[in-house]
């Protein structure tokens, strides 16, 4: 089974494919600029935003440092309230636990609410293998599912599709040849398509935005009401969540609820948030299972800088401002977690993956992501850190060595030369020798990758600055 955290290609190759799709780029540009504008507006309303972010970061750092304690507390609180907690070391174990529970409940169909963690563990495929149909209830997930597609964004999984593409898809899948390509009409079609399914389903599967240790509470943040349907109407509810989703106290939850919607959809608050603990007699599901998933998270936890990525609350603000994401979209990252956060999360969750190691290089280090991150993850710093982890890993493995050797040898030699003024000056003389390659006439040079495809090389001057200084100024 495909591991949703292992990219099928190195980032530059996947990005090249995505760049060739002009519709995709137009869709992404329109969508990300809309959401950026909305976010800036509602974040600007909150006077103490920076203090709030710092508070959220501090709560997460504290929680992660004492994660074992809070998970145990969470488990006890859920059990006290009539729920059952299950643990999974990896994706395979997680999907087996969930599939066993679904089959045990006698369901042939389950209702799902958008959940990255269930994408991460490849749940739908294993359910299908065991004869269970998973019905995605989120509008975007429905678009993705009906199109046999993959999500390309953390919050808006079908951001890569425009209204006309969605219209064509719905018209085919729902048998509605006259459907109008208007968001209102498309949303209405989804409402009618899912309505019957909601009312008849016996098992629901959700993710969680937050788990609260002191109350055993699960928070699910959504907009459409499909989440409420899924969390309320079925008899049995299974929630799948990464171990990084826990916060210590119910009071802490308030801090994150103030940050999340503004960062994610640019709303002051999303339309619906359900917060429940265990089984509430006579209200909602009467059987509740919480599946806690590691799947590489404890590896990230072991790295003092790397663990800051586990503060992430999946708001996707970093995707929406990233100039690289805006050009290539989520699929190019090859992981269920795309964009800048994916570039620091994926290689930590799968440190042995050679393609994942190319993700930290998928950034110009422009810093837009760090500016908007509501939990203050120092993404550019992490990217640089993970690049050096990748360099060391390549060095140690020896496998990629062949391809990267010229780069490594060159940078090592340059490093040594640049540390000595005399050798540095000799290299400057070399730049002068290459002078004819620069300027408008300078054409494609194989050694310089794609630089010369769209850019001229600079023309080296006759005299370096230091020679001018020595000869004329000093």
């Amino acid at each position: 089974m495909r591991d949703a955290l292992r990219p099928e290609a190195p980032f530059p190759a996947a990005a090249r494919t995505a760049l060739a799709d002009a519709t995709l780029r137009a869709n992404l540009r329109r969508a990300t600029s809309t959401i950026r504008r909305r976010r800036d507006q509602v974040v600007g309303e909150v006077e103490d935003w920076d203090r709030l972010r710092a508070q959220a970061a501090a709560i997460k750092d504290h929680t992660l440092r004492h994660l074992d304690r809070y998970l145990a507390q969470l488990e006890a609180a859920v059990a006290e309230r009539g729920g059952q907690v299950h643990w999974a070391r990896d994706a395979a174990e997680a999907r087996d636990v969930v599939a066993d529970l679904v089959v045990g409940a006698g369901a042939r169909r389950v209702l799902k609410v958008k959940s990255l963690t269930t994408e991460e563990i490849g749940l739908n495929d294993v359910l299908a293998e065991r004869g269970v149909e998973a019905v995605e209830s989120d509008l975007a997930e429905l678009i993705v599912q009906l199109g046999g597609d993959r999500p390309s964004h953390i919050v808006v999984p079908a951001i890569h599709k425009n209204r006309f593409e969605i219209r064509d898809l719905f018209a085919r899948a729902m048998g509605l040849p006259d459907l109008a390509p208007e968001p209102t009409a498309l949303a209405e079609a989804a409402r009618l398509y899912l309505r019957e399914r909601f009312l008849a389903m016996t098992v629901g599967i959700s993710g969680a935005n937050f788990l609260v240790a002191d109350t055993g509470a699960v928070a699910v943040v959504e907009s459409e009401g499909n989440g409420r349907m899924c969390l309320t109407l079925p008899h049995t509810l299974i929630t799948v969540a990464g171990i990084d989703k826990v916060v210590p106290t119910f009071e802490d939850l308030g801090v994150f609820l103030r940050l999340l919607a503004r960062s994610a959809t640019g709303e002051r608050m999303n339309p619906y948030t359900t917060v429940f603990s265990g089984v509430v007699p006579g209200d909602g599901p009467q059987a509740f299972h919480l599946v806690l998933v590691d799947n590489g998270r404890t590896r990230a936890l072991a790295d003092p800088l790397g663990r800051t990525a586990l503060r992430c609350i999946r708001c996707a603000a970093c995707l929406n401002v990233c100039p690289v994401y805006e050009r290539v979209g989520g699929h190019a990252y090859g992981s269920v977690y795309p964009g800048p956060i994916g570039a620091v999360l994926t290689p930590q969750l799968r440190p042995d993956d050679e393609h994942a190691r190319t993700l930290p290089y998928a950034s110009t280090l422009c810093g837009a992501c760090a500016d908007v991150c509501p939990v203050g993850i120092p993404i550019p710093r992490l990217l640089v850190h993970l690049r050096s982890v990748a360099v060391r890993a390549d060095e140690a493995s020896g496998r990629l060595g062949a391809r990267l050797a010229p780069e490594r040898l060159m940078l090592r030699a340059l490093g040594r030369a640049f540390a000595q003024p005399r050798q540095f000056e000799r290299l400057q003389a070399l730049a002068r020798v290459m002078r004819p390659l620069g300027g408008r006439q300078g054409r494609r040079l194989p050694g310089l990758g794609g630089w010369t495809r769209s850019r001229a090389l600079p023309t080296a001057p006759r005299r370096s600055f230091r020679r001018w200084w020595r000869e004329e100024h000093r």
Binding site: R65, R195, E224, G254
Partner: protein, 242 residues
């Protein structure tokens, strides 16, 4: 702790916790941050809530005190053309004066398809949040089961001035004690159901109620007759652009 039939989960639990402890073995303790000081209460909680809830296309109907709630609710139902509305068993009967063409159905465990045939539901709330125009239902008296406020297409919710807090952290703090006592389910509602999944265009009304009416009552639920506070009843504002 829980162990499923195969004992698999117990083994996984021990191993995940052991991995966590190993990963953090060299890390210094990180203390929890002191709680943020509460923000200075904005002087106009009621008005701010009214503005914010209206921003997200909920309709606001004012009532000068609890005695006016029945009239306000009836006005909301009348605007929608009446029909059958679900109410929780614990809703004060003084709120319910059905206008012509409207009937109240007490929810004593209506099934999803029964609920789907109703025009809407009427409830109170646990509290409301001014900054975001959010209403929180916690299943307490006058609020009913979650399904009741979800399946029918129109929700009328009564909010008293004294139930309004400033922001999310204050709301969480106010609900925390109750959450610590036992199983509980909260629904935080900010405007009608919506989606932005198509080109980031906001479309109201997907699976939850497509129309949200808020009856905003001066004072608190216990002082029936909020006119005592000297507030003049205000005419209902024109209905929102929906």
């Amino acid at each position: 702790m829980s162990v499923d039939a195969k004992g698999r989960s117990g083994k996984a639990r021990d191993e995940v916790l052991a991995r966590i402890r190993a990963a953090l073995s060299a890390a210094a303790p990180v203390p929890p941050p002191p709680p943020l000081p509460p923000p200075p209460a904005p002087p106009d909680l009621l008005e701010r809530f009214a503005r914010r809830v209206a921003d997200y296309r909920a309709r606001v109907t004012r009532a000068a005190g609890e005695v006016e709630v029945a009239r306000a609710i009836a006005a909301c139902l009348g605007r929608e053309g009446g029909g059958r509305y679900a109410v929780p068993p614990s809703l004060p009967s003084s709120w319910l004066k059905a206008p012509a063409g409207t009937e109240f159905v007490v929810d004593r465990g209506l099934g999803p398809s029964d609920l789907a045939r109703l025009a809407g539901s009427v409830t109170g709330c646990a509290l409301a949040v001014a900054e975001t125009g959010t209403i929180v239902l916690d299943g307490g008296p006058g609020q009913g089961r979650r399904a009741m406020t979800l399946v029918p297409d129109h929700l009328v919710c009564v909010v008293f001035e004294r139930q309004i807090v400033a922001d999310m952290p204050q709301a969480a703090a106010a609900l925390a004690d109750a959450m610590r006592t036992g199983p509980r389910a909260l629904t935080w509602i900010s405007g009608p159901s919506a989606t932005s999944d198509i080109e980031l265009n906001r479309v109201e009304g997907v699976h939850g109620p497509r129309r949200l009416d808020v009856v905003l009552v001066a004072g608190g639920p216990e002082d029936a007759g909020g006119r005592g506070e000297g507030r003049a009843p205000q005419p209902p504002p024109p209905s929102g652009p929906d």
